[in-house]
């Protein structure tokens, strides 16, 4: 039986004996040889690649590649090192290359065929995001950095094709051609259009605004979603305070279509004790259903249907925060990484604690509600 292709879930249990250990309460498949420090990012290979390959970057400065076989087995394939923690990874369109962004202020291109990595980008500060842009008339890498710039590189030249000034340090970004969106410190939110050449399209007031206090929350993760024509339609923006905003770029009715929802909180119903609010660490959209997954500092992942505006599922609580997540190209596998996200500072950091990457069958659980 093929584990990920089949419609039956394997989350029902049966993997090993039940223990009090809460590192894997959802009984998902563990990826072998996980990184030795917190996992900062995960990315599955694009549809152009046969099979599934998972890339994970970590604070141990390494980027690892696993092959995920149909039976759920993972085979470690190779790894590359940076000289600083790795903060983001992405794949090229054809799956032959992986791009990595690091605190060492460089981005590298890792050619999986030759297992060589070369530097392709340079910033004045750690690079927070890296994205592959494939346009009809150009291909490039977009890097966003804490040096308050967004740069575009063609991978062959040491100089960027273009450098755009950001109002603040780049905290997160996403690209779905022809749209790119960057969320920065100090609640900056900029949408870029990528046709012909990248240019600023619109600055948006942060939708993550508390209407009562007027305070806004720090942006932490962002993911673009597509409409029925498979064109980017808007984005989901996750904040450090257990809240996600769904924001359309050109909604017919902004007041109606844009909304925010709360997530990754505890004591939801108990009004006597304060509600614990956790950071939303990552958002990922299901490539087929258009539903989304959020993962948080509370050690839970949740699946949501933004159109029905309903929650599909929330996981049990893991014993560590979930720091990254990713769907594979056909949406059968949901990968999530359990490791310390530093949300409580270094005092709570335990280098001895093992980090995990789990794989979960995502076929059924992410089906939208109204479809059958």
């Amino acid at each position: 039986m093929s584990l990920f292709g089949a419609s039956t879930g394997f989350g029902a249990g049966g993997f090993g004996a039940a223990t009090t250990d809460t590192h894997n309460p959802m009984k998902d498949v563990e990826v072998t040889s996980p990184p030795d420090d917190s996992i900062s990012c995960l990315a599955f290979s694009p549809p152009a690649m046969p099979g599934n390959f998972l890339i994970g970057g970590s604070w141990a400065n390494d980027v690892r590649c696993w092959e995920v076989q149909d039976n759920g087995q993972t085979v470690p394939k190779a790894q590359q090192m940076h000289t600083g923690p790795v903060l983001d990874v992405c794949w090229s369109e054809d799956g032959s290359k992986v791009f990595t962004a690091s605190c060492d202020k460089t981005a590298k291109m890792w050619d999986l065929n030759s297992n060589q990595a070369i530097q392709i980008a340079q910033h004045d500060a750690p690079i927070r995001t890296v994205h592959w842009i494939k346009a009809p008339n150009y291909n490039c890498i977009m890097t966003g950095s804490w040096d308050k710039t967004l740069k575009f590189w063609d991978t062959r030249s040491p100089n960027p094709m273009m450098s755009l000034q950001l109002p603040e340090r780049c905290y997160c970004a996403d690209v779905v051609y022809p749209m790119a969106v960057v969320a920065s410190a100090d609640r900056g939110l900029i949408v870029y259009q990528l046709e012909n050449q990248p240019s600023e399209f619109r600055r948006i007031d942060s939708p993550l605004k508390h209407q009562v206090t007027g305070l806004t929350y720090q942006h932490r993760c962002i993911a673009i979603f597509k409409d029925k024509q498979n064109k980017p339609a808007g984005f989901a923006l996750g904040s450090i305070e257990g809240r996600v905003a769904i924001h359309y770029i050109n909604p017919p009715n902004p007041a109606k279509d844009n909304f925010t929802f709360k997530c990754h909180r505890s004591n939801g119903t108990n009004t006597a004790t304060p509600q614990d609010i956790y950071a939303v660490n990552a958002i990922s959209f299901h490539p087929v259903h258009g539903t989304l997954a959020t993962v948080g500092s509370d050690g839970r992942f949740s699946f949501w249907d933004k159109d029905a505006r309903t929650k599909l599922k929330t996981s049990e609580q893991l014993d560590q925060p979930i720091t990254a997540c990713s769907f594979n190209n056909n949406g059968n596998i949901f990968a999530y990484a359990s490791s310390y996200d530093w949300s409580k500072g270094h005092e709570y950091y335990n280098p001895q604690k093992k980090n995990y990457i789990f794989l979960r069958n995502a076929t059924e659980e992410l089906k939208p509600r109204n479809k059958k």
């Binding site: 065929n113 530097q119 991978t155 939801g268 009004t271 949501w304 280098p351």
Partner: protein, 971 residues
């Protein structure tokens, strides 16, 4: 040229004057917009990070420096400076801490905030009402000036008087300003009637970066007469009239006002006044045309309103909706049931949760840390800074080590040359003696010079990591995407055991070299050692753990793990097809690339093995590079050669010896010991030196000259009655300074050495060297490992703690076999006998740096029961020890306490079960858990020795521990 000048003038026009004047650098920076932008950003970021990373006890210092930097860097204000935000944050941060209320730096923050706020006067009265800065003259001066600026001389004067009444410091400054103020008032009064035109150069003193409500006309920049003139210009009618009425008293606005001013009522303030008016803030006002149906509002407060009905509301969320159904209370089981509900009800259920109107929220991340500055930071930025701090420290350490090694080598050479000269001239007979030590240290040098040099090489490479960006120019090429499918199918090499994998090739097998090794070990080391290093930064003991690199073992374990992981197999696979690929596409990657990126082409297995090798090799290398020698300061010694060798002065001890002996005495008291030592001829012991004069001054990072030896002292640890320095001089040493002239430590150490020597099987004990001064004594121990057990255990696995425990047990066993009782075992005064990553067959004993509570039962036969020992009192009160028990048992409990502290980092909590003492945490120890089993047995043994002699208890225990596979160095 003139245009440039004009531009500058124009800029200066908008520049806020600073009391201290403006730094030229700041002005220039601020004028060259853009070019220095990056530099400013970096400096700002550095401050922001420092605010977060600071762990000392004076965080205000950073704020103070940050403020000064901001004022200098942004003389024109501007939003970018975030000055107001920063000031608000800062004053708020320390508002709860009354100890800062009179701190001039804190007051300075407040004053700056006030001056940058809309209503400075409100701010000042808030300060006064809250008792902030009441004793600082600056408050009164700026406050009075503010009043003066408004033309309210009466109040300004009152403020000055108030300040003088409170004796605000510095008084003379306040007085001086007050005098100046009075002079101005007087001058104004005198000139009030005169016609005064010709205003001097005026500027907008009050111009702020933001708009201000108060329209203050240009005033004089010249301070003295400025205010009066402005008054004339600006308020011609009112002030002129008033002044004419009361020419001397200044102006008297009206009676009520002056009364109020004179008393300066303390108004209660709930919160500091707002310092800024938000731009574009919509104030609540009547909605002109839109009528909102009252009902819908009512329902909105109790029932979730569908988004469509509120057409003016941008987002459906927050505030006034009920916490109807929150996401978190739906547990998965229930949720599956819910999924069958019809869509409309779902719409209300999950996503459009009610805002937390009544729900209190509590952030579960380090919010205060992220927001603890003028700008926010992300979690990752903090973490990265942590990482970088660690990395910087590591590199600094390497540099320092290299520098030390270099310095030492240089001195060695000097010394050798000097010695040669001396030898040739054959000046003195003493020389032959010196020569012995000289050549001795020479040998050390020579063997070091072999090790230091190679170790410096990888260190030098380490710096290249930072320059990696510079490769960017050359590192490109080979950007030739090879479609995967093409290679994948036919290449059966990549399909072992039915795997269909990516074909990773390694076209240029790396020939093996030092570059990858150094990079790998460095980068591998950082993330793990983050914790330990930061502690060092905090405590400021740069060299505290000079020799230790405890993670080396961890690294090795990790490397071994990786090597045996599937990456291993992958590596083998990757290497084999190389030859074929190499010939196929040799032109893709230029040779240059192959060199510069050599390390990237390592197959994982090579990397792993190199790494393993690297971590193994780094142990001895770093150890040897840190070793020191007595020759370091030998040059000085030669100068002292002519002086006579210090003779031991036994009589020196007699000076303090008491005449009266009480009947019952603490066996550990100085008096008793002094008396006991009088019976012993200490001067006959080797390595005992008695010195004239008082105890020399010792300080951290200083030099200590003892007898003919010079020691470099590094970090210092203070204990109750003594302090211990880590130092160097003939190898790494620990130097213990006591302010009592009773060399008891040395006596016990020597006894241990002598008595152990009786048994040819027993290990050799080094008693160290002792220098007795008139008012104290110094004991120098060789300590190849300068970390105390506590420091080692801080960052080690349980298995290593186990070996520490064994070393401790061994020490006590040896002492007891020599009829010595240690008396005060503590993780802070024990050090390991060697670097623990050095392979060694014998475990050995820990080195005790402190014998101050020790008892020699051969010399003190009157100590027959535990209750006589002061160290036992605590155990006796806990009922752990019977008062009549053997005094040796004190040490067994000491072992338990020490090891427990190492293991659990907290005091023991003991439980008595069936007259057997156990630790709370091992009360229900799981026998299958190796760790539990090991420790539970250990503690049970040392806590319950019964009547058996302690030496046999400890011998058995040690054998048991060695047999256990749990401890790292067990078998």
């Amino acid at each position: 040229m003139a245009q440039v000048e004009a531009e500058r003038e124009l800029c200066l026009e908008n520049t806020q004057p600073l009391r201290k004047g403006l730094a030229v650098t700041g002005l220039q920076l601020s004028h060259q917009e853009g070019s220095c932008h990056a530099a400013i950003q970096q400096q700002r970021q550095a401050f922001e990070l420092e605010l977060r990373m600071y762990t000392g006890d004076d965080p205000l210092d950073i704020w103070d420096r940050y403020l000064k930097w901001t004022l200098k860097t942004y003389p024109q204000g501007s939003k970018e400076s975030s000055l107001t935000a920063m000031l608000e944050r800062a004053v708020q941060l320390f508002a709860h801490d009354k100890k800062y209320y009179d701190d001039p730096r804190y007051i300075n923050l407040w004053i700056n905030l006030a001056q940058n706020s809309m209503e400075p006067l409100e701010m000042f009265s808030y300060m006064q009402a809250n008792g902030i800065g009441l004793t600082r003259a600056d408050l009164y001066i700026t406050w009075a000036e503010e009043f003066e600026k408004h033309g309210n001389f009466q109040k300004a004067d009152t403020i000055f008087h108030e300040g003088l009444k409170c004796r605000a410091q510095p008084m003379d400054k306040l007085q001086q300003y007050h005098n100046g103020f009075q002079a101005r008032v007087a001058h104004q009064a005198l000139s009030a009637t005169e016609e005064e035109h010709e205003p001097a150069r005026t500027s907008m003193v009050d111009l702020r970066p933001r708009g201000r409500k108060k329209a203050v006309a240009p005033v004089n920049r010249t301070e003295a007469a400025g205010h009066s003139r402005r008054l004339n210009l600006q308020l011609p009618r009112r002030s002129a009239r008033n002044i004419q009425k009361n020419p001397i008293l200044g102006f008297n606005e009206n009676q009520a006002d002056s009364l109020q001013a004179a008393q300066l009522k303390l108004e209660p303030w709930m919160a500091p006044p707002s310092s800024r008016a938000n731009e574009n803030q919509v104030m609540p006002e009547q909605l002109a045309d839109i009528k909102i149906p009252q009902k819908s509002w009512c329902s909105a407060s109790s029932v979730t309103v569908p988004a469509s009905r509120l057409n003016f509301q941008p987002f459906v969320e927050e505030g006034d909706q009920t916490p109807s159904v929150s996401a978190c209370k739906i547990d998965p089981e229930v949720n599956t049931v819910l999924s069958d509900r019809p869509p409309p009800s779902k719409e209300e259920s999950a996503l459009e949760e009610g805002g937390g109107g009544g729900v209190k929220e509590q952030s579960m991340y380090l919010k205060e840390l992220l927001l603890n500055g003028a700008v926010e930071l992300s979690i990752e930025e903090l973490r990265a800074e942590h990482y970088f701090a660690r990395k910087r420290q590591e590199i600094e350490e390497t540099i320092q080590q290299q520098r030390q090694a270099k310095e030492r080598l240089r001195q060695q050479i000097d010394e050798k040359q000097r010695l040669l000269q001396l030898q040739q001239s054959q000046q003195r007979p003493q020389l032959s003696q010196q020569e012995v030590t000289g050549t001795d240290s020479m040998q050390i040098t020579e063997c070091r010079s072999g090790t230091v040099l190679p170790s410096s090489q990888p260190n030098a490479m380490a710096f290249q990591i930072f320059d990696e960006g510079s490769q960017s120019g050359s590192a490109h090429g080979s950007g030739n995407p090879i479609p995967c499918e093409k290679d994948m199918c036919p290449d059966d090499v990549f399909l072992p055991a039915g795997d269909r994998g990516l074909c990773f090739k390694t076209p240029y097998p790396f020939p093996g070299g030092s570059i990858p090794h150094s990079e790998r070990t460095l980068s591998k080391n950082f993330p793990e050692r983050t914790e330990s290093l930061n502690e060092e930064v905090v405590s400021g003991h740069k060299n505290k753990t000079l020799c230790s690199s405890p993670e080396d073992t961890q690294d090795f374990v990790k490397a071994a793990k990786i090597a045996s992981s599937p990456y291993h197999a992958m590596g083998q696979r990757a290497v084999s097809p190389n030859a074929g690929i190499l010939t196929k596409e040799p032109s893709i990657t230029p040779q240059l690339d192959a060199d510069s990126d050599g390390r990237k082409k390592l197959s994982p297995i090579q990397e792993a093995s190199l790494e393993a090798w690297g971590s193994m090799a780094s142990g001895p290398t770093s150890a040897s590079s840190v070793c020191t020698n007595s020759g370091g300061k030998a040059v000085h010694h030669l100068g002292r050669l002519k002086e006579s060798h210090a003779e031991p002065h036994p009589e020196a001890m007699d000076q303090n010896s008491p005449c009266i002996q009480p009947v019952i005495e603490d066996p550990c008291s100085m008096r008793v010991r002094q008396r006991l030592l009088d019976q012993v001829d200490l001067s006959s012991f080797p390595n005992f030196y008695s010195e004239d004069g008082p105890l020399p001054m010792a300080e951290e990072d200083g030099v200590l000259i003892l007898g003919n030896d010079t020691f470099a002292t590094y970090s210092k640890m203070d204990y109750e009655n003594f302090s211990i320095y880590a130092g160097q001089g003939g190898g790494d040493v620990a130097i213990k300074l006591e302010h009592t002239a009773v060399p008891w430590d040395f006596y016990i150490g020597s006894q241990l050495r002598e008595r152990l020597a009786r048994d040819s099987q027993a290990p050799v004990h080094d008693a160290g060297r002792c220098f007795l001064f008139q008012d104290g004594c110094v004991t120098v121990h060789k300590a190849s490992q300068q970390s105390t057990l506590r420091e080692v255990a801080e960052e080690s696995f349980e298995e290593i703690v186990a070996s520490l425990a064994m070393q401790t047990v061994e020490l006590v066993r040896l002492m007891h076999s020599c009829h010595l009782i240690h008396g005060a075992l503590s993780p802070d005064t024990l050090v390991m006998n060697r670097r623990y990553d050095e392979p060694m067959d014998e475990l050995g004993a820990a080195v005790a740096l402190d014998f101050s509570c020790s008892v020699d039962l051969e010399l003190q036969p009157e100590v027959t029961a535990a209750h006589i020992l002061p160290a036992a009192q605590n155990f006796i009160t806990q009922d752990l020890l019977a008062p009549s028990a053997s005094p040796y048992q004190v040490d067994l409990l000491g072992i338990a306490e020490t090891v427990h502290t190492l293991l659990k980092k907290r005091p023991m909590r003991l439980v008595k079960e069936d007259s057997v003492w156990t630790l709370e945490e091992y009360q229900e120890a799981h026998p299958s858990d190796r760790s539990d089993a090991f420790w539970s047995k250990f503690f049970r043994t040392v806590l319950n020795p019964g009547d058996r002699p302690s030496v046999s208890v400890l011998t058995e225990l040690l054998e048991d521990m060695k047999k256990s596979t749990f401890a790292c160095y067990g078998a």
